[in-house]
């Protein structure tokens, strides 16, 4: 069985580094030389300015310098920005942490504009040959072209375009194992941007060993001062929206035909990927009298339900520092690098939780805007098991009734009618308590659904707030958070570094939130 993960690129046999290889994992058995015509068809600046000109930079630093050298003064590609992150970047520096792999790495963007940068690259060491991941926007086809360089000779491979993330043969394979919908990935998208150098937590030079060349490299010394904040605003969100725009505009040029609406609806009803959120409170500064601002996305899909659909926004969910500290103690929360380092407590910012990914939120908005989903259908779908914003088996079950195709004309489509009818038919034919029956209940409220749905949400918010005042109530949320993290780590390769998540002694068990704010186990 061939390795179809993103690690497939690391085990190739040495080949000519002066030629671009194509390795579309899932289609190609291994790297194969691309023809001049194939290279010419690549419409991104990395291919156009370097590869097509016979330039194959060996290091990440050389990529940036070569691109900047290839363009004229005053062009956006003349400017780069560097960022640094690392899962162990906030651990204190001292003898106990001297041997810890902090997974420090650089992300560099080149270019800027309303759609964000044209090129993103990631590397552990600017000067090291190979080991570079690069995405560059294809101005001909739309979408990002994904590249990898590997080995000491820095063999460059074209690994696919964002569109390949949505094709059966390549879906979930190679780079699309992580970039599930072909979008840029920024797990820690929101303030306080855990693991990134940011206004909320700086990464100091002494995290590098004294002799480490990265310590004095300009990418570190001249990094964007606001780090994660700038990256979120100027790079990640625009890049994710840019791909969504290109992806959805293709439907217009295809005469409104959406051949596989499942690719869209799966992003709305299931959890292809996640974003990581935390409180704004540093673990090291935690006081019993603190009120920790628990991430809203742990409890409810606030962005989808409230920001997009206008339903009742959640209140400020907090837990006291005293209750939180007891949970940490009770469940033996600690950090571990898997090779001997162990530190009692939590990640740098307290309570790391997972929430619906921004790339999936953008797709929800787009699906409504183009007329694929009516607001009523979107609201009724998301109000099925809304207490579990991620990993909801109940919402996933509704995919069984999805129409195979959709046609949109003048921002209208029969898709919503067909989809809702199919679910309602299944509800009528089935027992009570099914996801379909829950949907039917929501649908029966009618077109003026806001008041009723808001009432359900308010009851839930009140119940959650009551649970958060009790140690036992918060303990159950702590277990639920751990269970979701366990599922994330076991199913998503983006959980690649051991210091990303806290470790607890909580046994693996199916856990889900219920409408009354309690957690069901088993």
């Amino acid at each position: 069985m061939p390795d179809e993960s993103c690690r497939a690129f690391d085990s190739i046999t040495p080949i000519d580094p002066g030629v671009l290889q194509r390795f579309l994992v899932g289609v190609d058995a291994g790297p194969r030389q691309m023809s001049a015509a194939e290279v010419d068809a690549l419409g991104d600046p990395f291919a156009r300015l370097l590869i097509a000109q016979g330039t194959f930079p060996r290091s990440a630093e050389a990529v940036v310098e070569s691109i900047k050298a290839a363009v004229g003064a005053g062009t956006p590609l003349k400017r780069h920005s560097s960022f640094i992150l690392g899962e162990g970047s906030q651990l204190s520096v001292g003898p106990k942490t001297a041997g810890v792999d902090r997974s420090l790495r650089f992300v560099v963007t080149i270019g800027s504009g309303p759609d964000g940068p044209d090129i993103f690259l990631s590397a552990f060491d600017p000067k090291q040959p190979g080991g570079i991941e690069l995405m560059a926007w294809d101005r001909n086809e739309g979408g990002f072209n994904f590249y990898r360089s590997t080995g000491p000779k820095a063999i460059w491979m074209f690994a696919g375009n964002s569109r390949d993330a949505l094709r059966d043969a390549t879906r979930g394979k190679g780079p699309f194992e992580s970039h599930r919908s072909g979008a840029l990935l920024m797990k820690e998208l929101k303030s306080p941007w855990i693991n990134w150098h940011s206004p909320d937590a700086g990464i100091a030079a002494n995290v590098f060993a004294a002799h480490d060349r990265r310590r004095t490299h300009e990418w570190f010394k001249d990094k964007e001062p606001t780090g994660g904040l700038s990256f979120e605003a100027e790079a990640a969100r625009p890049a994710i929206s840019r791909w969504a725009d290109a992806r959805f505009s293709r439907f217009e040029s295809d005469g409104g035909n959406i051949n596989r609406p499942t690719m869209i609806i799966e992003q709305i009803l299931t959890t292809p990927t996640v974003n990581i959120a935390t409180t704004h409170v540093e673990s090291g500064a935690l006081q019993p009298t603190d009120l920790l601002d628990l991430p809203t996305g742990f409890f409810i899909d606030a962005e989808g339900l409230s920001e997009t659909l206008g339903l009742e926004a959640p209140p400020f969910f907090t837990v006291s520092g005293a209750i939180y500290a007891k949970s940490l103690e009770k469940f033996d929360s600690h950090l571990s690098d898997g090779t001997g380092f162990r530190q009692k407590g939590d990640t740098h910012f307290c309570f790391l939780a997972l929430e619906r990914a921004f790339e999936d939120q953008v797709v929800l908005r787009k699906a409504i805007t183009i007329g694929l989903l009516t607001r009523r259908l979107a609201a009724c779908l998301l109000m099925v098991d809304p207490w579990n914003p991620i990993f909801s088996g109940r919402r996933r079950a509704l995919l069984a009734h999805l129409p195979a195709t959709a046609l949109i004309a003048n921002a209208k489509s029969s898709f919503s009618d067909e989809f809702s009818t199919a679910i309602l038919d299944a509800a009528a034919a089935g027992p009570t308590g099914t996801p379909e029956a829950e949907f039917a209940e929501r649908w029966a409220v009618g077109t003026n659904f806001s008041r009723h749905f808001n009432s359900l949400l308010k009851d839930y918010y009140r119940a959650v707030k009551a649970q958060l005042r009790r140690q036992a109530g918060f303990d159950s949320y702590f277990r639920l958070a751990a269970e979701r993290r366990r599922r994330f780590a076991s199913t998503m390769p983006i959980a690649e570094f051991s210091l990303l998540l806290p470790v607890t002694d909580i046994a693996a068990k199916t856990r889900s939130m219920q409408s009354d704010g309690t957690v069901r186990e088993g």
């Binding site: 309303p114 606001t226 704004h280 926004a313 969910f317 908005r365």
Partner: protein, 329 residues
């Protein structure tokens, strides 16, 4: 560089009474330079060697405390716009002007109130003229002072809604607070035998302000990191808080114009901007409210404030102080 001759005015703004301002800042430093803070110095009293580092400390103008306590972006932007005094506490304040419901411009300031007090004391006519130019042509001197003739920071024109603002009014956002913060942060701290280095922990340990603000923890951490390395710390001339470039990449305009063009500097220049506005030039035919950020139209000044950076520049003078960490307060 030898000793600084005098402190410049913020952003080196032209001022016929600049010497008075410098004297005022020297008095302010005198309160913060203390024997128990040997690593903080007044650059007009001690040398600053050439090559001393001047790292830029920057943070975002939108108040972190609000961001951390109001989950809905829509709600937090609205709250911040509505109440400058209660919420805009990151050494940066803004006001919004509208045409109907649509935003036409958002004006930002980092001008410290002490400077306006100095101006009023030394050239009251100039202050009135500035108010008339920047805030409202109807401003009179009597509107700006109390019954004894003292300048009122929170006078009715500087806290008018809707309207334009003159300078900072939030009580925590003063030059003296910034200087004292840097000075106090030069003391290394230790807790349970372990050096305190993380931002919020340091702010808590040394009681350096609000750990959930953007500004206090950042400024403190930068000064403290330099002090822990044995160096001495001060603030670079011209002393002040400055507006950095707004993060405009990713802002979508109706005609695909680069939104960076809409940032108009009103006072200051280059790295030293103390007042600027975000406004679409009239010839483009649309308003700020027609612009989108992350797919949402700009409905609040807070959406722009989310992307405006504020900066301060410490001086780090190489030295070899032996550390004498103090326990937490």
């Amino acid at each position: 560089m030898p000793k600084l001759d005098s402190f410049s005015t913020p952003a080196k703004l032209p001022d016929p009474n600049a010497a008075d301002w410098s004297a005022r800042v020297e008095r302010l430093f005198a309160k913060s330079v203390r024997a128990d803070r040997p690593q903080f110095y007044d650059p007009t009293k001690s040398n600053t060697p050439p090559g001393s580092e001047r790292p830029i400390v920057s943070w975002v103008a939108f108040p972190a405390a609000l961001r951390a306590s109001v989950p809905s972006p829509h709600q937090r932007w609205k709250l911040a716009d509505e109440d400058r005094l209660s919420f805009q506490d990151e050494y940066c304040e803004w006001t919004v002007a509208r045409s109907g419901a649509k935003i036409t411009k958002v004006t930002f300031t980092t001008e410290v109130p002490e400077y306006w007090e100095h101006l009023f004391e030394t050239a009251p006519d100039q202050v009135v003229a500035l108010y008339q130019e920047l805030v409202d042509p109807r401003v009179k001197q009597a509107d700006l002072q109390d019954s004894e003739g003292n300048y009122q920071r929170q006078n009715r024109w500087n806290n008018i809604k809707p309207g334009r603002l003159a300078h900072l009014i939030q009580p925590a956002s003063t030059l003296s607070a910034a200087v004292e913060l840097v000075a106090a942060a030069t003391v290394a701290r230790v807790k349970n035998g372990v050096p305190v280095t993380n931002q919020q922990e340091l702010v808590r340990c040394a009681q350096l302000g609000n750990p959930l603000r953007n500004s206090d923890p950042q400024i403190s951490a930068a000064a403290n990191a330099a002090a822990r390395a044995g160096d001495e710390v001060s603030l670079a001339d011209p002393l002040g808080l400055y507006l950095g470039r707004p993060l405009t990449s990713g802002i979508r305009t109706p005609d695909n114009a680069d939104a960076a063009e809409f940032w108009k500097i009103e006072r200051g220049h280059g790295e030293h901007v103390v007042r600027a506005r975000f406004e679409v030039p009239a010839n483009r035919g649309y308003l700020v409210g027609d612009i989108e950020i992350d797919g949402r139209p700009v409905e609040f000044g807070g959406q722009i404030a989310d992307r405006v950076q504020v900066t301060v520049k410490p001086i780090v003078k190489s030295a070899h102080h032996a550390l004498e960490p103090k326990p937490c307060k």
